[in-house]
């Protein structure tokens, strides 16, 4: 399969295959991304996060349908947890998006976290690039949804939608810490239920703590399953995007996330090189043994690894 040609010609199979190659850490994929990197930057990236079962997939489905009516192409990346024990995963978010399946202007991809923490999979970043190159106007990323520590989405998305539901009770306290920074737009889903107003108020109260800020995230009550207020939610997302552009914050965010991305790739490469090197020389194990009987400390061991790496590179 000629992946590059396919990708540029709108062949979904090519797009899908390239994402797999990335997930499988195939060198060919990196070469392609290098080559096509200049084509990225056209898609708007929207993160959808929130506690399990809040309606993230349903919200994504409805937003995507709204955008399709506006003739926008939509890519969706949905991340579910990989079992740390077996490496297997059940990827079930698509169920909520069944009737988008056959829409030619939609591409949905499920991913397992494959060991990554932080609510995304390691390949998510590159997968967004692929969908961007593939010509998607909007790209949604649904995070794992385990609640805490879903921080990675901020680095990837232009706008992060935090989906909440009534009756979270104490959970809201637990998520509170992360909420303030992560959410650019708050959606109180399942507003057909009692307590939606209260939840909205609770969120507003929390946002009050940050009163001085130039941007105050809006709180939108929606009923995703009935497609209720989804247009309002989209409007709030657009408003945020506009604010980011006009205030210059967009650039700052982009800059920051590129920085972390570069450092991440760098770290990844360093670790990989050392591991590769260690395959022949056993250098890591040797250092571990030395540290075990205290003839060396871990700090010095790490420095020595770095030295080792440099010596092979020169």
């Amino acid at each position: 399969m000629d992946i590059k040609a396919g990708l540029l010609n709108g062949d979904k199979r090519a797009c899908a295959r390239l994402i797999s190659l990335i997930e499988n850490e195939d060198a060919q994929a990196v070469e392609l991304l290098k080559e096509l990197y200049s084509m990225t930057g056209n898609a708007r990236v929207i993160g959808i996060t929130g506690p399990p079962g809040a309606g993230k997939s349903t919200v994504t489905d409805k937003l995507a349908k709204l955008l399709r009516k506006r003739n926008k192409k939509v890519g969706i990346i949905a991340v579910d947890p990989t079992s740390p024990f077996t490496g297997g995963a059940i990827l079930g978010d698509r169920v909520r998006m069944s009737d988008l399946n056959t829409d030619p202007g939609v591409f949905i991809r499920s991913m397992g976290t494959r060991g990554a923490l932080g609510g995304l999979s390691k390949a998510a970043n590159a997968a967004v690039k692929v969908l961007d190159i593939f010509g998607m106007d909007y790209i949604f990323i649904e995070t794992v949804g385990v609640g805490q520590s879903e921080v990675d989405i901020v680095k990837l998305a232009d706008t992060v939608v935090m989906v909440m539901v009534p009756g979270l009770g104490d959970d809201i306290q637990a998520i509170k810490a992360g909420i303030m920074e992560i959410g650019d737009v708050f959606a109180v889903n399942k507003s057909d239920r009692d307590g939606a107003e209260r939840t909205a108020t609770e969120i507003e109260v929390m946002l009050d703590f940050n009163r001085g800020a130039a941007y105050r995230p809006p709180v939108v009550n929606i009923i995703a399953k009935d497609n209720n207020n989804i247009d309002k939610l989209m409007e709030a997302i657009d408003d945020h995007y506009e604010y980011m552009q006009n205030s210059g914050n967009y650039k700052i965010r982009k800059r920051n996330s590129l920085k972390t991305e570069i450092i991440d790739i760098f770290k990844y490469n360093v670790v990989k090189s050392i591991e590769q090197k260690s395959e022949n020389t056993n250098i890591i194990d040797q250092l571990v043994e030395l540290a075990l009987d205290k003839s060396i400390d871990p700090y010095t061991a790490a420095l020595r690894l770095l030295k080792e790496l440099r010596s092979t590179e020169s």
Binding site: G53, T58, I90, G92, V95, R96, K225, D226
Partner: protein, 559 residues
Amino acid sequence: MFDKEKIAQVKKATDNWNDTVIAKTIAKFPERKPEFKTSSDIEIKRVYTPADVEDMDYERDLSYPGEYPYTRGVQPTMYRGKSWTMRQYAGFATAEESNKRYKYLLEQGQTGLSVAFDLPTQIGYDSDHPLSEGEVGKVGVAIDSLKDMEVLFDGIPLDKVSTSMTINAPASVLLAMYIAVAEKQGVTPEKLSGTIQNDILKEYIARGTYIFPVEPSMRLITNIFEYCSKNVPKWNTISISGYHIREAGSSAAQEVAFTLADGIAYVEAAIKAGLDVDEFAPRLSFFFNAHNDLLEEVAKFRAARRLWAKIMKDRFKAKSTKSMMLRFHTQTGGSTLTAQQPDNNIVRVAIQTLAAVLGGTQSLHTNSKDEALALPTEDSVRIALRTQQIVENESGVTETIDPLAGSYYVENLTNNIENMASEYIRKIDELGGAARAIEKGYVQQEIQDSAYRYQMEIEKGERVIVGMNKFKVEEAAPKGLLRVDPIVGELQARKLADLRSTRDNAKVDAALEALKKAAQGEENLMPFILDAVRVYGTLGEICGVLREVFGEYQQTVIL
């Protein structure tokens, strides 16, 4: 009931026996397994004694057949008065073909009808809908309009037989058609007896033929309760079903728990809709499974009866004793039957029949030996029916009521299952009731965990299924299975085209328009559906209108 001192003595003696005789024996001859357990994960002791039922109060916990809390049965004389209804679930291909099968079954001594519909009918699509392709008449009879229903019951006097229809999401439409056919036979609605399954919650949980979201579905159901209490008083307006929950993989205790939790949701919905509990509750009926663990199953039926009686009396303050009686249909456990050595299934079904009868069922379907291969042939259905007749006439278990009462084990197990089920119901209440627990996937998750555990036990050989993972033989491919001719789809499509060109379409449109308006409002929909059915509006058209107004249910998938 028991003397405290005597019980203390028994306890001591039992301990003594375990410490001496048993300890010695086990040391030499270890038992087969380290632990013995029922399907509900209840540990089974070596022996049971009065100490295991020491708190039992006969009047309070068991009482007499026909008396609260109905542990021993809902009728005073049970099978000494009259046998259970033998009701084989059947239906396939066209109405003509199924009509023949029903007449055959009635000739063979079956006492009630039970209609199986094909999947398009159950999901509210006409036979010519694109999604019906390949499915028409495959696993039940295809009904598109009143025309088909007239043929289905042709020559069967609806005032004489009772008919059970396994229909849920479109239950009101099929009930309306049944009423309309009866009218044509000159039988008025108040003479009709039978049951519609009409239990949408378990469709979401375990059976999969849902159409509409929860709220409008609950409305359709309470509409039926209300309509029937006034117009079709002998009709069982719902069959709250644990059968499918069990077949999806639940344990016995989960079967009771989730079924009664659904029951609670229906009662609450009807009360909320303004009905008086004693007006509709006497027409609620239930549907349970009978699996192989004979004694656990008997205990399950008894526990279900007692728990429901308490719920109706204490929670819903029912006054009529009829509201407290849990009457139920039983079907033997299809998922216990194997594709390997299918004749063995006859034996399994016999055990399960015993369980249902010893548990006091009101009606029974026995599965056929070809269960895991295809829809049953006429021959295999006959054996299944004969199994019931043998238990009825030859086994002797029908001569006295609830003969296992007083067995220390069965009473203890009855208590255990009741307690486990109550605990689940408490948990479901906490989650906000059955509908909410289903939306969260809680109920499905519990069932799937059980199903997966069961499968793994089989694969590891910890659970023996005779002929499947032990005592295997080489077998030739089974012969003579029932096949449904794919031509049925075309036949039905042709009939539909014909109907659409001969009926008065203006009348149909008007009826559908009226239905739509009513659906958007708050009225009882039954009269509107009846009007549409009478002028030969099709099932798909009627459900289509309701789909438009109500939307469709989205399943919660939990794995």
